[in-house]
């Protein structure tokens, strides 16, 4: 049977100063994904390997890690897509390490608590009537499975302690702001308290999103634009003027 070698980062920060890569030989199956290899390791080679996975189907966003240093869902990374190149699996670097591939993503719940929740407009007649067209914009953001790969790849989060909440949280705010019956405007909060001004729209988050949400174009830029009248953000102004020139909304 054919095998591949997967190199996995192992480190328990509570007892080891430094981590190390351990190579595991795993039998290849047709259509196999990196998570299948990891499951093989935990079942047959070392049951104490720490990693998260749950639905195995790209629906829950648990098995986030970096594969050859690219933030990825292990359940969706086809082994054959690496075309025989070595596969290296490391934990998400932007989050504190728990052990091996498991990281502490709990700060995201604290940030989500701070974003004002859905607040329906007053005096709406029940049952609510909404047109399908009006829900489409918010629906894109509601595809988010909270895998936090966008947070992981964001260089503002990685390199600066600016207080920027990160792409996931802008997507959350945008999903609420673009809800047709929501009464609030979270742009002021996002720009003032959630550090959105620090984002310089490099689009890395959009590239890694497994749900293909256009995070930068459809969430971040509109949230920046909504706040242009409130705050001075040169990037947002620039983007807006360029968009107007090209005739897009």
């Amino acid at each position: 049977m054919d095998t591949i070698t997967v190199s996995v980062y192992r480190h328990d920060p509570s007892s080891e100063k430094e981590g190390r890569f351990v190579d595991y030989d795993v039998p290849v199956e047709e259509g196999m994904v990196v998570l299948d290899a990891m499951k093989y390791i935990e079942r047959h080679i070392d049951p104490s390997l720490s990693l998260r996975w749950n639905c195995m189907a790209g629906k829950c966003g648990s098995c986030s890690a970096e594969i050859n240093y690219k933030p990825s869902l292990m359940c969706k990374a086809r082994v054959d897509s690496f075309k025989g190149a070595k596969i290296r699996v490391t934990p998400m670097a932007a989050f504190p390490l728990i052990k091996d591939l498991a990281t502490d993503v709990s700060e995201n719940w604290e940030l989500l608590k701070k974003i004002p929740k859905f607040t329906p407009k007053e005096g709406l007649e029940k049952p609510w009537k909404i047109s399908q067209q009006d829900i489409e914009r918010s629906k894109e953001f509601k595809k988010c499975i909270e895998c936090f790969l966008c947070q992981d790849v964001c260089h503002v989060i990685r390199e600066h302690h600016s207080g920027y909440f990160g792409p996931r949280h802008v997507v959350k705010a945008a999903s609420l702001d673009m809800h047709p019956l929501d009464a609030l405007n979270r742009a002021e909060f996002m720009n003032k308290d959630a550090g959105l001004g620090y984002c310089n729209i490099t689009k890395c988050c959009t590239e890694v999103c497994p749900e293909e949400i256009h995070i930068t174009d459809n969430a971040i830029i509109p949230e920046k634009e909504r706040a242009v009248n409130l705050f001075y953000d040169p990037l947002a102004i620039l983007v807006r003027s360029r968009r107007n020139r090209s005739g897009k909304k």
């Binding site: 328990d12 047709e30 104490s48 195995m56 728990i98 329906p120 829900i135 918010s138």
Partner: protein, 574 residues
């Protein structure tokens, strides 16, 4: 105190909820809003529970699309497809309350697909008389879980995720708390609670081929059973007609009934639309047990596909329609199988999907026979009888999740904190630690043996001989489960977790098999090749409980429907 608490962290809460899927979270909202302090525990990260996998929709008789629909028809559909062993009161409550729970979810921020006049859109689903399933494309579960998560985060509800509860704690007859292992740091936590809700979901992972996610190992069933709770209808395991068959890594993964609801048809390898032979009237949209057995029979008769499935075809609806109505199925087949379902047929086969049975509860408050213990969601029983209708589980978790929250909260208001027994806590901590070590059986090997036995011997069509073989195997595996050892420490040790899950998985499996042996007839999801007919004398429920010398199995009458409900339902035919 005689025992130093340095071994564990202690918490107090009015209501403790074990499980943070749809039922647990809806319960948390209800218990908190009725004035109790609430703590909710989750084995996975918050928002990752199996509810997230639900696709097709939530059943509620809103009558937005078919104006003739109402709670009475929904009630009758539920009782008839549950093959007359459902608890009538639970079915009545579900049918009456589901519309309010859907509208309430909308007020929490969920956005359902709409009809042309702006109301909530409803789609057809198997064995529902009318178009009844409110949906968000084919990712309804994600919308529900994220909406509830948002509500939890904006309330003062305490939550601990990656917390695995290993034992319920009792004071006399009453459940008064629980002990758990916090996976991410290896700490033990002890919760002292006035009331406890079990909302841990199903046990599909006792099978090899299942649509269930990693965490569905029947933990809550085992916890409750060990604490003296009665289980019911465990022999009733739903096989979903359509799971993926290829590639091997995703074998069993769900293909939503929404595909058939939106017009998808089933074909065998010869290109025949075989449902014409099995169910000429309802065709692909008959109840799940009927369609699953038809798929199985076609495959067994040698009319299956290369990978051992049948074809599910939606190509005739056109690419735009498919991408719009079934976006996540389109992506699932593209990403995992490299198949474009707008141009090619899907290969599908039956997959273990849902446990109709579980903890026996009171329909009004969801209390169990053990004081202080409540339960809702897939882990609880009574509503679905011998077969669950698609979309009724999402309705179930909201309707009975809320009732669980309110029931436990009003119980907690009259109760005081119980006394926690230190020696019990210390011996439980010792038991957990005892699985750490170098030489012993690999827990995954024990789990694999169980899964293979269940898939081979307790499948879609059952018989006495193979059931008895599996029962013997389970009893042997119970011994092996005690010998397992895992290297490493208490911290984030998935092997240790598997070791702790094993006894619960074995309890769930043992109940399924014992009930399947006991029920010498074919009813709903339970089909016996040696007893192919339904038997009127067995229109009863099987109750499971922990006896002094092992699992006790007894028959109990189904509660008799009052006249006003009975007249809504067709007479059962034999």
């Amino acid at each position: 105190m005689r025992y130093m608490s340095s071994e564990y962290v202690k918490h107090e809460t009015d209501v403790l909820i074990i499980g943070a899927g749809g039922a647990g979270m809806r319960a948390a909202i209800a218990a908190f809003d009725s004035g109790s302090s609430v703590t909710i525990l989750s084995k996975s990260l918050l928002g990752k529970a199996h509810t997230v996998m639900a696709e097709g929709g939530i059943a509620a008789a809103l009558a937005n699309v078919d104006s003739k629909d109402n709670w009475e028809v929904h009630f009758a559909d539920t009782i008839e497809e549950g093959v007359y062993i459902s608890n009538y009161r639970m079915a009545e409550i579900l049918a009456k309350e589901a519309p309010d729970r859907v509208r309430e979810l909308e007020e929490y921020g969920a956005l359902f697909d709409r009809t042309p006049d702006g109301t909530i859109m409803q789609r057809a689903f198997g064995a529902h008389t009318y178009r009844r399933l409110c949906h968000v494309g084919d990712r309804t579960g994600l919308e529900i879980i994220k909406t509830l998560e948002d509500q939890i985060l904006h309330r003062d509800v305490k939550f601990f995720d990656e917390m695995y509860v290993t034992k319920l704690l009792k004071d006399g007859d009453r459940v008064v708390g629980a002990i758990g292992l916090k996976l991410n740091n290896g700490e033990f936590h002890v919760f002292n609670a006035k009331a406890v809700i079990i909302a841990t979901g199903g046990c599909g992972r006792v099978y090899k081929v299942t649509s269930n996610s990693w965490e569905s190992t029947g933990d809550g069933l085992g916890l409750a059973y060990d604490a003296g709770t009665e289980l019911m209808d465990m022999e009733m395991i739903q096989f979903h007609p359509t799971g993926m068959v290829f590639p091997p890594g995703v074998k069993g993964l769900l293909v939503t009934e929404g595909v058939r609801g939106e017009g998808g048809i089933l074909l065998n390898a010869k290109g025949e639309r075989f449902m014409e032979r099995y169910s000429p009237k309802k065709m692909e949209l008959d109840a799940r047990d009927v369609v699953a057995r038809a798929n199985y029979a076609e495959i067994m008769a040698g009319r299956g596909t290369v990978h051992g499935g049948v074809y599910l075809d939606i190509t005739h609806k056109g690419a735009d329609f498919v991408k719009k109505k079934l976006p996540s199925m389109y992506k699932q087949y593209m990403d995992f199988a490299g198949v474009d379902i707008t141009k090619e047929k899907m290969e599908v086969a039956p997959t273990v999907h849902y446990q109709m049975g579980g903890i026996r509860v009171d329909p009004e408050t969801t209390s169990t026979n053990v004081p202080g213990l409540f339960s809702s969601g897939e882990v609880a029983s009574g509503l679905h009888g011998a077969n669950r209708l698609g979309g009724n589980s999402l309705a179930d978790i909201l309707v009975f999740g809320r009732r669980s929250g309110e029931g436990s909260s009003s119980y907690a208001k009259k109760a005081s904190f119980g006394k926690l027994d230190e020696p019990t806590i210390m011996s439980e901590i010792q038991r957990v630690k005892s699985f750490l070590g170098k030489s012993g059986t690999n827990p995954y090997d024990v789990a694999s043996k169980l899964e293979e036995n269940m898939s081979e011997g307790v499948g879609i069509i059952r018989n006495e001989e193979s059931l008895k073989k599996v029962l013997d195997a389970i009893l042997e595996l119970r011994q092996s489960a005690k010998q397992v050892k895992v290297p490493g420490t208490l911290k984030y040790n998935k092997g240790l977790l598997q070791a702790l899950e094993l006894p619960f998985m074995l309890t769930a499996a043992e109940a399924i098999v014992r009930g399947a042996i006991e029920r010498k007839e074919s009813r709903g999801a339970h089909a016996r090749s040696d007893y192919p007919k339904k038997n009127p004398a067995l229109r009863k429920n099987i109750i499971y409980s922990k006896g002094e010398s092992g699992m006790k199995v007894v028959w109990r009458d189904v509660p008799v429907m009052p006249e006003n409900l009975r007249k809504l339902v067709k007479e059962e035919d034999y």
